[in-house]
């Protein structure tokens, strides 16, 4: 079919254009729009009939003059060209260069929309990744192929934490590093620069593909950006056999862009104006991560989600948590006390930890140590709460021990240096040191054998 060109744009609203009398245009196809003043924009068909098609314009519809607009249907889906040269590049949401270098040329082109992985083709992620961060490795372990987001809030050090993880992440006893796909959506210039400098100074830049859409770039482009980035991640993982770590920041801006377009389309809102399909839409992105039978590469994902007003029940963190395999939650309270990384372990979770830790993976005492630390900390937080009401002096000796534990845990286990790369052994040994402040009989999550081997207390 030849490329069709039309001047019949009939309506423009909020990132959308309607074009009339356009027979045979395929749903989902890519569109090029010329604004009549020499500029072009890209779009995608999101509703098709012979009488009228609706087009989503990635660069937005500001300043478009209906009379002057020309629309060309390119008769192909939104695609990206792929070659090993892509490593080290900085691209936009459509895969076009942002680094002033020539476009990627390749005969390998893939539609960015992707397809669903057959669950029967997946294999269960089990390989422990050491991040060097105690609250993650010890209590919420990350495994290869997992999607584990960082839930954060404005002003919290999620970028520093993500960068530290990128620097330190490795398989235990192996220093094969990751290829990094970095996807920035709606972030500030400073944040993007922070990551670019980070990658440069840690010498990994040659192993990074950056996709960048800044706060002042068109929001609609954020809708394809993570898909383009993941198409590249899939290429690196499954064509080039690499282990890929995808860092995406900030999913909240992605979801806001989606809401903007949904509102313009007139979709029925579910909660807080977000469309009902936000869940499925996010899942299409997050579920592209994982491990596949007989494939050497893998995709591990660490999205950053900033919680509007620090509210974990807000639809974006909420729906993310329903899809991802756990979450690392940052706390403003810990941050204000100067504790870095301010990981609040209670709401944090790694769902894939169970098969990645223990005897053959980390150390045999790891699962029970984690359970015991959680139990002690839960009780310690209750005690801290009680102390704030009735005063620490009123506490029993038993309770005072918990109070002290809460502080030690925050300072020593949670808190660590930004350059401090703790081995999992160091993390577990530190855990035993803290646990041993309690009498043996109160440590009922640990087995007698584990206590005999590691307990350092005096009774």
């Amino acid at each position: 079919m030849s490329i069709k060109e039309y001047r019949t744009a009939s309506e423009v609203r909020g990132g959308l254009i309607l074009v009339r009398d356009t027979p045979g245009v395929a749903f989902g196809d890519r569109v090029r729009i010329s604004d009549g003043r020499g500029g072009t924009r890209d779009g995608q068909v999101i509703r098709a009939s012979n009488e009228e098609v609706m087009i989503l314009v990635f660069e937005g519809t500001d300043d478009l003059d209906l009379e002057a607009v020309w629309v060309r249907f390119l008769d192909e889906p939104v695609e990206i060209a792929l070659s090993p040269e892509i490593l080290g590049r900085e691209l936009n949401g459509l895969g076009e260069p942002r680094d002033g270098r020539p476009p990627i040329l390749s005969h390998i082109r893939r539609a960015v929309g992707g397809a669903a992985i057959n669950p029967a083709a997946r294999s269960y992620p089990r390989e422990f990744i050491q991040t060097g961060i105690s609250t993650i490795d010890g209590l919420n372990s990350l495994v290869r192929g997992q999607k584990l987001p960082i839930f954060s809030g404005s002003g919290l050090p999620h970028n520093r934490l993500a960068a530290q993880i990128v620097r330190q992440a490795k398989l235990k006893d192996e220093d094969s590093s990751f290829s990094i796909v970095f996807a920035a959506m709606g972030v500030s210039y400073a944040d993007a620069k922070f990551f670019r400098d980070e990658f440069a100074s840690s010498g990994v830049l040659r192993n990074v593909v950056m996709f960048v859409n800044l706060a002042d770039d068109p929001p609609v482009e954020r809708l394809t950006l993570p898909r383009t980035a993941l198409t590249v991640a899939e290429y690196l993982a499954y064509d080039l056999d690499r282990h890929v770590l995808v860092v995406m920041t900030d999913m909240t801006y992605y979801a806001e862009a989606l809401r903007e377009v949904a509102t313009a389309k007139g979709d029925v809102p579910a909660r807080k104006g977000y469309p009902g399909y936000l869940y499925s839409d996010l899942a299409e992105i997050y579920e592209r991560c994982g491990r596949i039978h007989e494939r050497h590469g893998s995709i591990t994902m660490m999205p950053v989600v900033s919680m509007p007003s620090d509210d974990i029940t807000h639809p974006i963190p909420d729906l993310t948590g329903y899809i991802t395999e756990g979450q690392i939650v940052l706390s403003r309270e810990l941050h204000n006390q100067g504790i870095y990384p301010p990981v609040h372990i209670s709401p944090s979770l790694s769902r894939l930890m169970k098969d990645g830790i223990g005897k053959d993976d980390t150390r045999e005492d790891h699962p029970k140590v984690a359970a015991q630390l959680y139990a002690l900390y839960a009780r310690a937080l209750e005690t801290r709460n009680l102390a704030s009401i009735i005063g620490a002096d009123e506490l029993s000796e038993r309770d005072r021990r918990y109070l002290k534990f809460a502080d030690d845990f925050d300072q020593r286990f949670v808190g660590q240096g930004e350059a401090e790369d703790r081995s999992i052994e160091a993390t577990l040994n530190l855990a035993w040191e803290l646990i041993s402040a309690f009498p043996r009989d109160s440590l009922t999550r640990l087995s007698e054998t584990e206590l005999a081997k590691y307990y350092q207390g005096n009774d």
Partner: protein, 600 residues
């Protein structure tokens, strides 16, 4: 209009995501439609003059107006016959393992694969009670094949057929398409009977009558069986915010319940959770039969990244297969994780149709559809295979963990057991995080009869006592949080201690603990009795004046907390021995104390 006269070819008019409008006069509501060059399958959901609105089970990317649309003449149906168990199917019953062989790691669109294997041979044994000339009807057992080591698959006459058996094949190996018998109906038409038949998923399969028999579904999970029991044929819900443990509860039931057949429907949830089942069940042993769990399990998977319309269908596909095994006289449990994703799929389609939303975007028919789904659970007298049951347990994923949202609140009105998961408990790693205050079961009295007969006459009393103690604990904790622990009497502190014993020694049960992951009813009661015996005996001592600090650090308390992981379900005697030992220890303290006081 008979099929032959009807024009079943039309064309695509409008593509709006998964909703496609076609021009095809004469098509019926509910009929399957093949769309476009790719042959994407969909289902007619509304009619308007020449036009029909179709929801497609696959992405419509690349479909153009003007492409062909073909009516297939039948509604969404599944194949029912041997070869379902051990398999994993997508939301419209396509076998995912075969799809992987054909289309690789990603699911290609437009694949038309039947649910059942056409080539595999099954050893058929005819029903010895049947012979030509005998009257047969819907659900009559024609014979059987051994589907897996444990499951005898009965070959049933499809509902809707009735008449006289004119021919029945001898024992032998047959493919599912082979004719194994003939039936002549009242009009004299002859029908071929095969090892399988088709059934439209949106239509409940018929049975003789509802059956009121009572038998608990034992799940091996203490907080469920001993506190909020479920019956076979019951309907239950597991609501909870993300990370609270809905999936683990459902997987534990799939692993350890005393159902004959398990159908696990992953509806809009994670791919890796199904992989977990697929990889672990072939290794795990069924505690009741000693055989591998996968032999009695089948999975339906529409993961969150798979098309949303097939998500809506997946629940019905699962239910129809569940009813089919019920009709063979089996107790089936179906787990639906999550019904909220099913409801959201309804919402999405209704939104695209421009229907008026009533609450949070959901259409007005949400509650009636939900009720109709749960109504397919139940215990029935089958036509020819004795009693059978379908227990339906649905996870509910309320946005923001808010139980007042539409899906949770409507579900709560429909179900009989409500296992409410609490974020606070989960955050404190108290698993399963089933909240004993907000959860309920309508089956406590019915279950009590069974427990009293099979396990111990004190079951209901012990259960009530524990719940009262836990309620007291909540009250006292509030006081402590106002004025501090010093304000409590020794007896009150012992009550806190008793509640802690119940929580840690009985309610908490880690799915990851090899010993404790499954707990037999006998072990459940022994642990409960152990905790309460300690509490009761301790309370007697405190009433005599023994200070609570004498009791709090007794090694027996730590033992009672660890007991669940020290002894498995075959070692209940060791737990009862510990109970006696503890009683003796308390008795010794009492004597000691009495002696001291008489000395004074």
């Amino acid at each position: 209009m008979p099929m032959s006269e009807r024009n079943n070819q039309g064309f695509v008019r409008i593509i709006n995501g998964p909703i496609v409008t076609i021009d095809l006069p004469g098509i019926r509501s509910g009929e399957q439609v093949k769309i476009g060059e790719l042959g994407l399958v969909g289902e007619v959901i509304s009619l308007n003059g020449r036009e029909a609105t179709v929801q497609t089970y696959e992405s419509t990317d690349g479909v153009r107006p003007g492409e062909p649309a073909e009516g297939l003449g039948w509604p969404l149906s599944v194949e029912l016959g041997p070869g379902l168990l051990g398999g994993i199917f997508d939301g419209i019953q396509r076998p995912l393992e075969k799809i992987a062989l054909q289309s690789g790691d990603y699911i290609r669109r437009g694949l038309a694969l039947p649910g059942l294997d056409r080539e595999r041979q099954w050893a058929f044994e005819p029903n010895p009670e049947l012979e030509p000339g005998k009257p047969i009807g819907p659900g009559s057992v024609l014979g059987s094949v051994q589907e897996t080591e444990t499951i005898l698959h009965k070959i049933l006459v499809p509902p809707g057929l009735e008449g006289e058996l004119t021919e029945l094949a001898p024992a032998g190996d047959y493919e599912i398409e082979a004719t194994i018998g003939h039936l002549r109906d009242r009009q004299g038409h002859s029908h071929r009977l095969k090892l399988f038949h088709r059934w439209p998923v949106r239509k409940p399969r018929p049975y003789r009558r509802r059956d009121d028999g009572i038998s608990p579904l034992i799940t091996g999970q203490r907080v469920i069986d001993s506190f909020f029991p479920q019956l076979k044929g019951g309907k239950g819900a597991v609501p909870g915010p993300f990370g609270a443990g809905k999936t683990v509860v459902q997987q534990q039931i799939a692993r350890w319940s005393n159902a004959d057949i398990v159908i696990y429907v992953g509806c809009g949830e994670r791919g890796n959770e199904l992989v977990d089942v697929l990889e672990s069940f072939p290794q795990l042993e069924d505690p009741y039969t000693g055989r591998k769990l996968m032999e009695k399990t089948l999975l339906v998977a529409n993961t969150s990244n798979m098309p949303v319309v097939a998500r809506e269908a997946s629940i019905y596909v699962g239910l129809t297969m569940a009813e089919y095994y019920r009709d063979m006289g089996y107790d089936v449990v179906m787990l639906a994780d999550s019904t909220s994703r099913w409801a959201e799929a309804l919402r999405e389609v209704s939104g695209r149709l421009g229907q008026m939303p009533v609450e949070e975007g959901y259409p007005a028919y949400l509650s009636s559809r939900l009720a109709a789904v749960y109504e397919r659970a139940g215990r029935v007298e089958t036509y020819d295979a004795g009693p059978g049951s379908v227990t339906l347990i649905g996870a509910v994923s309320p946005p923001g963990g808010d139980f007042s949202e539409p899906v949770t609140s409507h579900t709560k009105d429909i179900i009989e057991t409500f296992w409410a998961l609490s974020k606070e408990l989960a955050d404190a790693r108290h698993y399963p995080s089933i909240d004993w205050v907000t959860s309920f079961s309508a089956h406590v009295h019915a279950a009590a009869e069974w427990w009293h007969k099979e396990v111990d006459r004190r079951w209901e009393a012990r259960r009530t006592q524990s719940l009262a103690l836990l309620a007291r604990d909540a009250e006292l904790s509030r006081i402590v949080n106002l004025v501090g622990p010093e304000a409590l009497s020794d007896a009150q502190r012992w009550q806190l201690e008793g509640a802690a014993l119940i929580k840690e020694g009985v309610l908490q049960q880690s799915a990851l603990d090899e010993v404790d992951t499954f707990c037999s009813p006998q072990k459940q009661f022994a642990l409960l009795d152990l905790a309460l015996s300690i509490y009761d005996k301790g309370m007697t001592l405190i009433e005599l004046g023994v200070p609570v600090s004498h009791l709090q650090d007794l090694p027996q308390l730590a033992k009672a907390r660890r007991c669940k992981s020290m002894y498995n379900s075959d070692q209940v005697a060791s737990i009862t021995a510990l109970t006696r030992e503890t009683e003796d220890a308390f008795e010794a303290i009492r004597l000691e104390y009495a002696k001291q006081h008489s000395d004074d």
